[in-house]
C-alpha cells in the first residue's frame, strides 16, 4: 500500500508538519540551521590570527603551508585555505565569524561542554535543548538529522528525526498495524507517526540513496527544509574535531568537508537560502601551543561561525584578547571575551523576531548581544 493510501486508510491526520502559521512578517519563512561540530574545533586553525606573532611562535609545525595560502578577511585574520566557499560568502556579506567566544561555563570535558552548549542552561537539563525551546517559542517545527534526537533538540516542541538507512522499507501494512498496536504506548506511537511522515517527504524528493557523509546530510536536510511545509529549523552534527595528533592533515579534510557541506546546503536550499541562517558552533577551543604529537589539547575559547543569506556578514565580530602568555586563560588557552549563548541568543531573536520574554525561556540569565547580525531587509 502506498503511503497516501495508508493515510486515507487510517482516517486520521498523521501530518506532523504544520500548515504554515501566520507570522508576524507577512511573507517570510526564516529557516535556522544549527551545526554542532563535536570534538572541539580549533578556531585558531579556522579563523587564523595571522597578525599575532605569538601564534607563529607557539605553532611552528601546525602552521606550515597554511599562512601562505590562507584566505584573507578583515582585521588581519585569514580563513583556512580549505574554507573556499565561506571565503566567497564573506565577500558577499553572507559569512560572519565571531572570535574568542567561550562556553557558558569553562570546562575542558567534551561531554560536559557539549551538554551545556546543547541544553543552553547551567545546571544542565538533559531533557531540554535550547533549539527546542526556541522552536516552541516560535511555534515551529524542528528536524534532527540523527537516528535519535540529541539534547539540543529535546523538549516539548515538535521534533522529528531522520537519518539515511540502507534497510529496505517494510510493507506499509506493517506500519499500520503497529500504529494501532502502539495505542498503549504513546511514545512509540508518536515516534512512528513522525518517522512515516518524514519518510514520505524525503521519498518524494530524493531519488538516489543518501549516504551519511556530512556533505550528503546537508543536501538531504536542505531538501526537507525547502518544502513549503518543511521544518523551520534543523540540527546537524559533525564529528572528528578532537585533533590531539596530526592536526594539520586532519583539519584539511575536516574543513573541506564542512565547506562542501555548506555549499550543498546553499545550492539545495536555492531561494530559501536568502532567508536562512546557519549557526556553526563547537564545544570549546584548543590550546594555543601545539602539543608534542603535532596536535593540540582541549582549550577554552573558540569561534562561532554564522553563514546564510539572512546574515549581515562580511565582518569579524568579537573582542580579540591577544595571544601573549599573560593574555591567555590559565596561561594556555585563548581567553573568552564573550559566551556562545550571548551570540546564539542574538541570532535566534533577530532571525525569528522573538520577544525578550520568549528569549528568556531559550537562554535564561544571558546578556544577549545587541550587535546587528541578521539583515534588516531580506532579499
Amino acid at each position: 500500500m502506498h503511503r497516501r493510501e495508508l493515510l486515507k486508510y487510517m482516517g486520521a491526520s498523521l501530518v506532523m508538519w504544520h500548515s504554515q502559521l501566520p507570522l508576524a512578517s507577512e511573507q517570510r519563512h526564516p529557516k535556522l540551521i544549527w551545526i554542532l561540530l563535536r570534538g572541539g574545533m580549533d578556531s585558531l586553525h579556522a579563523v587564523i590570527p595571522a597578525f599575532d606573532n605569538n601564534l607563529v611562535k607557539q605553532r611552528k609545525n601546525l602552521l606550515k603551508g597554511i599562512l601562505d595560502n590562507g584566505l584573507p578577511i578583515d582585521d588581519g585574520f585569514l580563513l583556512h585555505p580549505e574554507l573556499k566557499h565561506l571565503h566567497q560568502w564573506y565577500r558577499q556579506g553572507q559569512f560572519l565569524p565571531i572570535v574568542a567566544v567561550g562556553p557558558q561555563v569553562n570546562t575542558r570535558s567534551h561531554f560536559k561542554a557539549q551538554d551545556i552548549l546543547e541544553s543552553g542552561m547551567y545546571p544542565i537539563d538533559h531533557d531540554s535543548g535550547w533549539l527546542n525551546r526556541a522552536t516552541t517559542a516560535y511555534q515551529g517545527q524542528a528536524l534532527a538529522v540523527a537516528h535519535s534526537v540529541p539534547i539540543g533538540l529535546r523538549g516539548n516542541g515538535q521534533v522529528s528525526s531522520w537519518f539515511p538507512s540502507k534497510l529496505p522499507n517494510a510493507e506499509a501494512d506493517l506500519y499500520t498495524r503497529l500504529l494501532s498496536l502502539y495505542e498503549t504506548d504513546p511514545q512509540l506511537q508518536e515516534r512512528l507517526q513522525q518517522a512515516l511522515d518524514t519518510r514520505e517527504k524525503l521519498n518524494d524528493k530524493m531519488g538516489a540513496r543518501i549516504r551519511n557523509r556530512f556533505s550528503d546530510l546537508t543536501t538531504a536536510c536542505a531538501k526537507l527544509m525547502a518544502e513549503p511545509t518543511g521544518p523551520d529549523c534543523a540540527m546537524l552534527e559533525f564529528g572528528g574535531w578532537d585533533t590531539h595528533n596530526r592536526q594539520a592533515p586532519r583539519l584539511n579534510q575536516q574543513f573541506k568537508e564542512l565547506d562542501n557541506g555548506l555549499q550543498n546546503l546553499r545550492q539545495t536550499l536555492a531561494n530559501t537560502w536568502n532567508d536562512t541562517t546557519v549557526i556553526i558552533t563547537t564545544e570549546f577551543g584548543r590550546t594555543v601551543a601545539e602539543n608534542g604529537t603535532q596536535g593540540t589539547d582541549h582549550g577554552t575559547a573558540t569561534a562561532v561561525l554564522l553563514a546564510g543569506g539572512a546574515i549581515d556578514g562580511g565582518k569579524v565580530l568579537g573582542d580579540w584578547p591577544g595571544l601573549a602568555k599573560k593574555d591567555l586563560y590559565e596561561g594556555r588557552d585563548l581567553m573568552p571575551t564573550s559566551t556562545m549563548q550571548e551570540w546564539m541568543g542574538a541570532v535566534v531573536s533577530q532571525h525569528w523576531q522573538l520577544t525578550t520574554k520568549q528569549l528568556a525561556t531559550v537562554f535564561p540569565n544571558t546578556n544577549i548581544r545587541s550587535n546587528q547580525i541578521i539583515k534588516t531587509k531580506i532579499a
Binding site: R38, G39, T107, R108, S109, H110, F111, K112, H126, D127, A144, A146, H147, S148, V149, R154, S160, S161, W162, F163, S165, K166, L167, P168, N169, A170, E171, D173, L174, Y175, R177, L178, S180, L181, Y182, E183, T184, D185, Q187, L188, R191, L192, Q194, A195, L196, T198, R199, G239, G240, H244, N245, N291, G292, T293, Q294, G295, D297, H298, E330
Partner: protein
C-alpha cells in the same frame, strides 16, 4: 521480598539478561536471583580467534603492501597500468584481512551472547566495553579495538575494578586510541624530541574513574598525564607482536601529586599506584555504580540500589562481583513495570535468543548493528554510546527497527505465538497476542512480536 517466581523470572531473563531463550523462563523460575548470580563467570569467546599477534601480523602485512603499492605507483607513473593494479590489489587484500580480524571478533562476541546460558555476564561485558569505549578511527584501530574487551575486560569482569582499569589503560587499543603511545615527559630523554599530551589522562579521570564532577582539577589531569608518559606500545616496525611497553626514557622523572597525594618517582608502578587509588576512590565507586544501575535497571535507578552498590564498592575496594551481586539482591531493581527501551544491541540479541538461534552468517550481526545506528567500536567518542534511552529512541531509530524486523523475520521458522509465549511469558499482552494471531503472514506476525511494546522494553 517480592515472591512471584514466574514474574521474577521474566525480569531476570528480560531485564537483567538479554532475553529468554526457549525454556529459559522455566529454568530461571526456580530461584531467579540465584539463577542470575550463578551466571557471574568470565564470558568465554571461541578459542583460536585472532589475538594481538594475529592483528599485528595483519597490520604489518597491510602496511608493507601499501608501501609497495605506493612505490610501484611512483615507479610506474608512466609505464603500463598492469603492475600498478597488481600492487593495489595486494594492498586491498591485506586491508581485507585486517577487516576480517575485526569482523570475526565482533561476530563472536555477539554470537556468544545469543547462544549463551549466561547472557547477564555478556551484558555486563558490553557495559564495561562501552565504559572503556574505543573507536575504529584508523586501520590500526580496526585491528585492535575489539581485542580490548576480550583481553583486558573479560578476564577482570568479576574481579577488582583496579585490575580492569590498569589492564584497559595499558591495552594497545586504549593507548593508540587516546594518543598516549607517543606521549613522553617534557623533561625525559625522548620528550626532548617528541611530545606530550593529556588526552588519555583526562578521560581516565572524567570517564573511567572519578566522573566529571568527581573532584579533580586541571592540575590533576596534567599530573596524571605526566605519570603515564612512557606508557607505550612496541614499535610496529621492529617488533611483530603488538604489546604494551613501558618506555623509561620517555617517562617524566620526578614525584607526582594527584588529588593531594604524593607518588614517589618510579617506573610503571608510579601510575599503577595512582590508578589503584583512583579505582578505590569514593567518587569512582559512586560514578561506576550509578552507571551500572542505570544501564541494567532503569534510566533513573533507585537511590537505594545505587547507594548500596557504592557502599559495597568501598567495603570491598571495588570488587565487581560483590557490587553486581548487591544490585541483584535489591527489590527496587526488580520492579515489574517494563520501562527502558532496549538498546539496538540488546534488541537484536533478544530477537535471536527468542527463537533459539544457534548459527548466523558472519556479517549479519555487525551489519544489523550498523543499520540500527550502533555499529560496535564506532561511537566516535571515548564516552561511548549513550546509555540512557533517549540516545536510541528517536523516530528514525524506531523506523530502522521495524524495517530490520520485517527483513529478519523471513529467516525464522516456528510458530509466532509459541515464540512469543516462550520469550515473554505473562509479559505478553492480550492486545499483542491478538495482533499476532490476526497477522496476514508468519513474517508479519514475528515482526509485530519483535516490535511490540513488551518486547521493545525491558
Amino acid at each position: 521480598m517480592i515472591n512471584n517466581k514466574a514474574l521474577l523470572a521474566e525480569v531476570a531473563t528480560n531485564r537483567f539478561g538479554l532475553g529468554a531463550r526457549p525454556g529459559e523462563l522455566k529454568e530461571a523460575s526456580d530461584d531467579p536471583r540465584s539463577w542470575l548470580i550463578s551466571q557471574l563467570e568470565q564470558p568465554q569467546f571461541t578459542p583460536g580467534l585472532p589475538n594481538l599477534d594475529t592483528a599485528s601480523k595483519a597490520l604489518m602485512a597491510h602496511r608493507e603492501a601499501k608501501k609497495q603499492a605506493k612505490a610501484q605507483q611512483k615507479a610506474n607513473a608512466t609505464a603500463a597500468n598492469a603492475t600498478k593494479t597488481q600492487a593495489v590489489n595486494k594492498s586491498t587484500k591485506f586491508k581485507n584481512s585486517v577487516n576480517k580480524v575485526f569482523r570475526s571478533l565482533i561476530h563472536d562476541g555477539i554470537h556468544q551472547s545469543i547462544v549463551s546460558e549466561q547472557s547477564f555476564s555478556w551484558r555486563l561485558l558490553e557495559f564495561f566495553s562501552n565504559h572503556f569505549s574505543v573507536s575504529t578511527a584508523n586501520r590500526s584501530m580496526v585491528a585492535v579495538a575489539p581485542l580490548l574487551e576480550k583481553e583486558a575486560l573479560a578476564p577482570n569482569l568479576f574481579g577488582q575494578f583496579e585490575d580492569m582499569l590498569i589492564a584497559a589503560t595499558q591495552h594497545p587499543a586504549m593507548l593508540l586510541y587516546l594518543n598516549n603511545e607517543k606521549s613522553f615527559g617534557p623533561d625525559s630523554r625522548l620528550g626532548r624530541r617528541m611530545g606530550f599530551n593529556e588526552n588519555l589522562a583526562r578521560e581516565i579521570l572524567e570517564l573511567h574513574t572519578l566522573g566529571v564532577d568527581g573532584g579533580y582539577n586541571q592540575q590533576d589531569v596534567h599530573e596524571l598525564a605526566l605519570a603515564i608518559t612512557g606508557w607505550s606500545i612496541t614499535n610496529p616496525k621492529t617488533s611483530q607482536e603488538l604489546d604494551f611497553v613501558f618506555r623509561d626514557p620517555g617517562h617524566q622523572p620526578g614525584a607526582r601529586t594527584i588529588l593531594g597525594k604524593r607518588y614517589a618517582d618510579g617506573d610503571v608502578s608510579q601510575a599503577e599506584n595512582i590508578l589503584r587509588d583512583l579505582a578505590r576512590h569514593p567518587s569512582t565507586a559512586k560514578h561506576v555504580s550509578f552507571k551500572l544501575a542505570q544501564y541494567i535497571v532503569s534510566d533513573s535507578p533507585p537511590d537505594t540500589v545505587v547507594n548500596a552498590m557504592t557502599a559495597k564498592w568501598l567495603a570491598t575496594d571495588g570488587n565487581l562481583r560483590e557490587v553486581i551481586t548487591e544490585m541483584i539482591t535489591h527489590d527496587a531493581a526488580w520492579q515489574f513495570d517494563q520501562q527502558k527501551l532496549k538498546t539496538p544491541r540488546e534488541f537484536i540479541v533478544s530477537v535471536f535468543r527468542a527463537y533459539g538461534e544457534n548459527s548466523l552468517p558472519n556479517n549479519l550481526l555487525i551489519n544489523s548493528l550498523t543499520e540500527l545506528g550502533q555499529r560496535p567500536f564506532n561511537a566516535g567518542s571515548p564516552a561511548g554510546y549513550s546509555q540512557v534511552a533517549n540516545g536510541w529512541d528517536g523516530a528514525d531509530a524506531l523506523m530502522a527497527r521495524i524495517d530490520w524486523s520485517a527483513k529478519i523475520s523471513s529467516r525464522i521458522k516456528g510458530d509466532p505465538l509459541k515464540i512469543s509465549q516462550q520469550a515473554l511469558g505473562s509479559q505478553l499482552t492480550s492486545t499483542t497476542a491478538t495482533a499476532i494471531k490476526r497477522a496476514e503472514s508468519r513474517e508479519q506476525a514475528l515482526a509485530l512480536l519483535f516490535m511490540s511494546p513488551e518486547f521493545q522494553r525491558r
